[in-house]
Structure formats: C-alpha cells, structure tokens
C-alpha cells in the first residue's frame, strides 16, 4: 500500500482546456519524488488537486489507503499536506514569527505566540537550520523566505510537502541550501514532492521521478537508473512530424543583438548577455521553458523594457535606446504573448487596428477613422477574422479571432522584422494552422521573424534556425536539422551543449 495514490485523475478546466487526461501515480512515505515535465504538462494542476485547491473532473485520491476528497487547502493541511508556491504567501510586513503564528492561531485554538516561538526554535534545532525569527519578512532574501514557508508547513505538522518549481527563484547557492534542507527533512521522515523542469536538479535530489507530458504520465523511474538524456526523451517525447517547408532564401542581416542584459519586473537579471543575429527570409525560433528570459528579451527588442547593457541594431541603425514608437516606424513589429496586451479588450476592432501605427492615420492632427475602417476591413478579409461588425469590442471575439486580428494588424504594416511570442497559445487547431501558415508565407516574402515559443512542435515546424534559452542565456543555437528532440530537451533542462557531446 502506497502512502499517496492518485488514481486516474482527469481535469478539464471550465474553458474546455484538458489539463490532465487520466494520470495515476504513487508516492511512497519518506521519499523525495520529482515531478518532471514541460510547460503545460499538467504538473502543477495535478499537485493542486492533491492539495485540494482544485477538484478533479474525474479520479480519486488515496492517502494511506483511505479515500479522501478535500474541500479546500485547509482540508489538505489538516491531513498533513502542504504546498509551497513559486510566489510566496507570507505577509511581507509581519515578522517571521508572526507569519508562523498566523495559520496556527486559526488551526489550533488557544495557541499563544510564545508556544509558536518555542516550537519553531525546537524544530530549527532539530533540522539544524537558521532562520532569523524576529526579522520582518520583506527584509529577508528570497531563499530565506522560502525556508520560512517550509518551516510554516512543518509547524502545521505536514507529512507531505509539495514544492512548485522551488529553485526558479533561487540563486545557485540558495538552491544548494534548499537541497540540503530537503535531505534533512527526508531523514526526519517527511515526504517531499518536487515539481521541476530542470533535469540535473531532479536527478540530483529525487529518489524517484514521474514524468508528465501533455496531461499524460510517461512513466515513473528510479533516479539512480536513468540518465539526463533518458529524462529529456521522456519529457519531450515523440519524434516531431516534419513539415515540408520551402528552404529559406537568406538575405541581408537585418537585426543584430550584442551582449544584451535586461532585468525582469523584480529587478533581477533576466537576460544575461544574449547575442543574436537575424537575417531576412528566415525564422529564428527561441525555445525554452517559460520564465527563462525569452519574454524579457522580446520586450527589450520591442522597446518596452529598459536595456541595462548591450546594443541592438535594426538594419544597421542602433535602436538600443529608441522608444517603441520609433522602432515600429523603422520597420520593427512586435506581437506580445498576451492578447490582452496586444489588443485593448474594451475597444472595438477599428480602434484596435491603429494601436501600433497611429501616426499613419493622422491627417492634420485628426485621426481619420474612415482610413482606419478601410484598414480594418482589409485585415478582417485577408485574415478571416469572424466578427459581427467592426464596431464590436474585441473582447467579444474568440481567442482565435483576436489573434488573427492582432497578427493581421502587425503583418499588414509590412514590417521588416517581426518579433512574435507564443503565437498560437490557447488556440484551436484550425486557428493554429492558419497563424503558422501566415508566418511561413511572411518569411517567404523575405521578412525576418524572431519566434519565441515554449511549444516545441511549433519551434520545429516553423524555425529555420533554433536557439535555446536557459536562465537568461542562449545555451545552444543552430540549424533546425541539428537539433533532435532529445538534445533540445537537455538544453532546455539546463544541460549544457559541451556536456551533451561528451
């Protein structure tokens, strides 16, 4: 009898997205269990079901052989399950002690803050850990905050600890510290489930590893018995169907990026010295797991994000510090990953169609809406946008039609370089094929496309060249044919190119 058993879990979200297609897995008591998969594989969804935060559409959860059905996380916590997210749930203006006291005061009536202090100090001693218990949380480094989250879970008498991508916010030293702590916990009999996409880490830390792919379980393996290549193959999976693409006719160098450094919203380096060249008539695909600096790179090129160091040249002209509007005028176009950024949901189609090229529609200080209407109907006709009229707010359009409008708007501007992020995210098959065909046609007209996608099928189908980003750096670049799914999986999982060849 296993400690935790998930049996045949199916999860369909209300918007029709199927996140899990019948996953069964077992977790033994006192092990560190790695849960590995790409973006959208269903790792987090599966664990949120175990944590009681969302309910499965079908399937059952057993703990120590007893069937459970949690109504919410508090139920799970009472049953000894805790989850630590990437984004922490501490009150930043409270001290560590106050944060530890907060849930205990609710769960155990009559606990005093002094009791909590004693219990916390005893626990820290046992685990040989150091946490400044009277410091304010907001003044602590991220790694220590995470330790507080784990400590809180242990004070709640958790027997099972779920960690969602715990190393994504940590520095390498903090990661080492975390691993040491998790091994201590294992000795103390705590079961740890570790969600990750990093191959090295999972093999270093976990006893057993379960690999998910597109909502299905690929298998569970003993960490000691597999290589990183095996894991990469399991994670990325099937051979990708080769699409017949006319070979590219490469033209002039049009975009050059030299040693680019960019920070993310938290002020942490997200892009760390990226250099790239983009030529007319090619699609350069940037592959990588979400959150490895791809979007910050795209925003920096488009002029939405400050560049700390390095330079960008568009057709020989330096654009490093130009505002977005001028970059667009010099022939750059950017389609962001989020349609709620690329389009203004509450505005109608016509108003949206002038968003990135307003100057073209201004005559003597006045917006010529008649010209905008003409442009919009051109986009609607050419890109088959289904809409009742040009005057409806775009939020009433389906995702696919919004994306057609967005891509159509930027392509109609005939830019020389198109930066496009996650072009088919969340779209159905028909819309996906349509958008991909548009991009290939655009390339064949001699335009340059920088494609950023976490969808490997898309990267392989469209790209002439592929670059893989990992933790803000380009860790591998080459022609499409040079990459096997296994190789790209290893690179995305943080195994460097020199390690692969050796």
């Amino acid at each position: 009898m296993s400690f935790v058993e998930l049996r045949d879990i199916v999860k369909v979200y209300p918007d029709g997205v199927v996140a899990l297609r019948g996953v069964s897995m077992e977790i033994s008591e006192g092990e560190i269990h790695g849960l590995l998969g790409e973006n959208g594989a269903g790792k987090t969804t599966l664990m949120r079901i175990l944590y009681g935060e969302i309910r499965p559409t079908r399937g059952e959860v057993f703990i120590s052989g007893r069937k459970v059905s949690f109504r919410g996380p508090w139920d799970a916590i009472k049953n000894g399950i805790s989850m630590v997210y990437q984004k922490f749930t501490l009150v930043p203006t409270f001290t560590v002690l106050e944060n530890l006291y907060l849930p205990l005061a609710l769960m155990e009536k009559g606990t005093s803050i002094d009791d909590v202090r004693k219990r916390a100090e005893r626990l820290l001693d046992e685990l040989n850990l150091r946490v400044p218990i009277d410091s304010f949380v907001e003044e602590l480094p991220v790694g220590v905050q995470q330790r507080v989250e784990i400590l809180r879970a242990l004070l709640l008498k958790s027997k099972i600890l779920i960690l969602d991508e715990p190393t994504s916010v940590l520095t390498p030293i903090e990661t080492k510290e975390l691993f040491r702590m998790l091994k201590e916990l294992k000795k103390a009999g705590i079961t740890v489930i570790f969600i990750t996409h990093k191959l090295k880490e999972v093999r270093e830390l976990a006893d057993r590893i379960t690999v998910l792919r597109k909502g299905m379980k690929v298998g569970t393996v003993n960490a000691a018995e597999v290589t990183e290549s095996d894991l990469a193959r399991m994670m990325v999976g099937h051979e990708i169907a080769v699409v017949q693409r006319p070979s590219p006719s490469i033209g002039e160098k049009i975009l050059e990026i030299r040693d680019l450094w960019v920070k993310d919203d938290r002020g942490i380096d997200a892009v760390k010295g990226v250099s790239l060249e983009l030529y007319e008539g090619e699609i350069l695909g940037i592959a990588g797991v979400q959150g490895n600096g791809q979007l910050e790179l795209a925003e920096a090129i488009a002029g939405m994000r400050r560049i700390e160091r390095g330079a960008i040249f568009l057709n020989g002209r330096e654009i490093t510090n130009l505002p977005a509007r001028l970059r667009y005028r010099y022939g750059l176009a950017y389609i962001p990953d989020s349609r709620s950024v690329g389009l203004v949901a509450e505005m109608n189609l016509t108003e949206n169609s002038v968003l990135t090229s307003l100057s073209e529609f201004i005559r003597k200080g006045r917006i010529k809406w008649s010209n905008a209407v003409r442009r919009t109907s051109e986009i609607v006709d050419r890109f088959n946008v289904v809409t009742p009229s040009l005057r409806v707010a775009v939020r009433y359009l389906s995702g696919g039609n919004q994306q057609r409008l967005l891509v159509g708007r930027e392509i109609t501007k005939e830019p020389r370089v198109l930066i496009i992020a996650e072009p088919t995210h969340g779209l159905d098959v028909a819309a996906t094929d349509f958008i991909r065909k548009i991009l290939l046609d655009f390339r064949d007209k001699g335009k340059a496309i920088l494609l950023i996608s976490t969808d490997l099928d898309e990267i392989f189908q469209l790209s002439d060249r592929i670059a893989v980003m990992y933790e803000g750096r380009i860790v591998g670049i080459g022609r499409n044919e040079e990459f096997s799914p296994e190789k790209i999986g290893l690179l995305m999982g943080g195994v460097h190119a020199q390690d692969i060849s050796s």
Binding site: M304, A324, P336, V341, G342, V344, L355, T356, I367
Partner: protein
C-alpha cells in the same frame, strides 16, 4: 452599448420613482404632487435652468476626462474654487471676461497637473491629495474673501465682477440663451473631439483601459494621466470661472454657491456615461432635479434633506448599472 443604455435608463428611472414614492408615502406626503413639481417646476424658466446647468457640464467633464485614463478626479471641487476665485480677481482688476476665463481655466489646469504629478512621480493617491487640496483651498478662499476681498458695502459678499466683465444672454431664434451655457456646450464638443479624434485622446483612452497595451504601443500611460488631469483641472477651473462671471458675479462668504459643484460633477459625469455630449444632457437633467427640489421645498413644504434624498435616489439608480460595469472592467484590467 447604445441599446443597453436605452434599456437601462427607463428601468432605472422607474425604479427610482418607485423608491421615492414609498419614501414620500411613508413620511405622509403626496408623492404625485411632489414629483409633478420636481419634474415640471424647472421648465418654466429655461434660461435659468441652462445657467444652473453650466457649471455642472464643466465639473462633469472635470471628472470624466481623467476617469478615462483611470484617474479618479475628486478634486473638481478644489479646481472649481480656485477657478472661481482667480477669475473674480482677474475680472476685478482687468475688467475683461476673456481674461477672467483664461486665468480661471489655467489655474484649474495647474492644480490638476500638481495632483497628477505627485501621483505619477511620488505614488500619492489622487483621491487623498485631491480631498486635502479641496479643503485647503476651501478655507484659504474663505479666508481671503472675508479678510481682503469683501465688498465694503455688502460685507457678506466678495467684491463684485465689474459690469464690463459679466456675461449675459444672447438671442437665438427668439430664445434667450445664456452665453456661459453656449461656452460650456462648445467646450464639451471640443472635449469630445479631443477624446475621439486626436492622438492624445486616443492615448488617454488606451492608457485608461489597458496601461500595458499603452506601453506596448509606445505611449506613456503616465503622460496620459498628467494630460488628462491638466484637461480635467482646466474644466473645473473654467466651471468656477463661468459661474462667477455669468451667474453669481460674486462669491459669498459661506461659499454656498460654490460648495458641492465639484462633487455633483462626479454624479453628472457618471450619469452622462463619461461621454462629453452625454454630460451636456445629464447636467441639464441634474439641474432640473435640483431646481425642482428647491421648488418642492417652497411649494409642498418638504424638508431640504428629503428633496436631496429624492434626487440622490434617482442619480444612484441611474448610475448603478454603469458603475457596476466600469468597476468590473477596471478590476479585470488591473489583474
């Protein structure tokens, strides 16, 4: 949008009438008679109605233009005061209505800019700073009128606007139309043009609906907030200016003619669906209720508070569906 408005407005009016009926009946008044007075009492004197509507058109715009960039200008009140006071001073010293209007408008604009700049660069919430400024200005103006600017002949009033600088009525198709109302209508149309046909208007609307999209398109949402507050503040200032040179010609030492105009503008703006043309109509409607309420006090003997309550019920009922929608989209867009 238009169709939903057409359905909402009659429903809201019916609901507010029903609530008012219950209220009046329960207090022992004759609802039919009182509503008759409220609705028809003001129509007998159209140019007075239009004069009373004028400041509301402008404070309505003072609220609605910043609102389109997601800024809550509750400072229309203070902008209105400063516009009124400085216009009075300008008119008194230069004897020119044009000068008075220019000074009042600019003063309001500067005040709006101040609120916007400390919001954008110092992160100070505009509602907090506006309310503080409202009271600072209220008491400063009261102080300066009672201390320096009082009329020696009528000590409870400020010095009057000289006759040369006053704006009266002009004849259009045999009807007397107040000049200040015409100015307000022109300004509302210009505002409409700016919002829907100019670059800055488009940038402001995009910034308000989706700041991230604005940044993506290469507009600065911060600059839009400042622009909208300068415009909104200028509207508030112009409102105060027009009231003084076209209606009261003086400021009384209790400031009763000024007080509450800026706040009423919030209701007028929401009632006009934040559309400058809609605001013209909503301010006339609002003034009708206010004048009607005053009449009902005189003729039917209901207390002031009850008249205010009847107006309040109607405005709330009319604004409710719209407020619900904008709050909903506001919350969704900030997520």
């Amino acid at each position: 949008m238009l169709r939903t408005s057409l359905l909402e407005i009659p429903t809201s009016i019916i609901i507010s009438f029903l609530l008012g009926f219950v209220l009046l009946l329960s207090l022992g008044y004759d609802p039919v008679n009182i509503y008759k007075i409220i609705i028809f009492g003001s129509i007998g004197d159209p140019d007075y109605l239009l004069i009373r509507s004028t400041p509301l058109v402008l404070t309505g715009l003072a609220f609605s233009i910043p609102f389109l960039t997601g800024t809550f200008n509750i400072g229309g009140e203070g902008q209105f005061y400063i516009g009124a006071l400085l216009s009075l001073l300008a008119a008194y010293t230069t004897k020119s209505s044009l000068m008075a209007i220019a000074v009042g408008t600019m003063a309001g604009g500067v005040l709006g800019a101040l609120i916007a700049i400390i919001k954008v660069y110092r992160g100070i919430n505009e509602v907090v700073s506006s309310i503080m400024l409202n009271w600072i200005l209220y008491f400063s103006i009261l102080f300066s009128i009672t201390t320096f600017l009082y009329d020696p002949l009528i000590p409870y009033q400020s010095v009057p606007v000289p006759l040369d600088a006053r704006l009266g009525c002009i004849q259009i198709l045999g009807e007397r139309v107040p000049l200040i109302f015409l100015i307000a209508v022109c300004v509302a149309f210009i505002s409409y043009y700016i919002l829907y046909y100019s670059r800055i208007g488009y940038c402001m609307r995009v910034s308000g609906l989706s700041p991230k999209s604005a940044r993506y398109a290469g507009f600065s949402p911060e600059l839009s907030v400042i622009t909208s507050m300068v415009l909104g503040g200028a509207m508030g200032g112009l409102g105060g200016s027009l009231l003084v040179i076209g209606h009261t010609y003086t400021i009384d030492t209790t400031m009763s003619a000024l007080y509450g105009m800026g706040f009423a503008g919030i209701g007028v703006g929401l009632l006009g669906r934040n559309n400058p043309i809609g605001i013209i109509f909503s301010s006339i409607f609002f003034s009708m209720l206010v004048i009607g309420g005053e009449m009902a006090e005189l003729r039917a003997g209901i207390p002031t508070e009850l008249a205010d309550a009847l107006i309040g019920i109607m405005v709330i009922a009319l604004s409710m569906p719209y407020i619900y929608r904008i709050v909903y989209t506001y919350i969704r867009s900030r997520k």
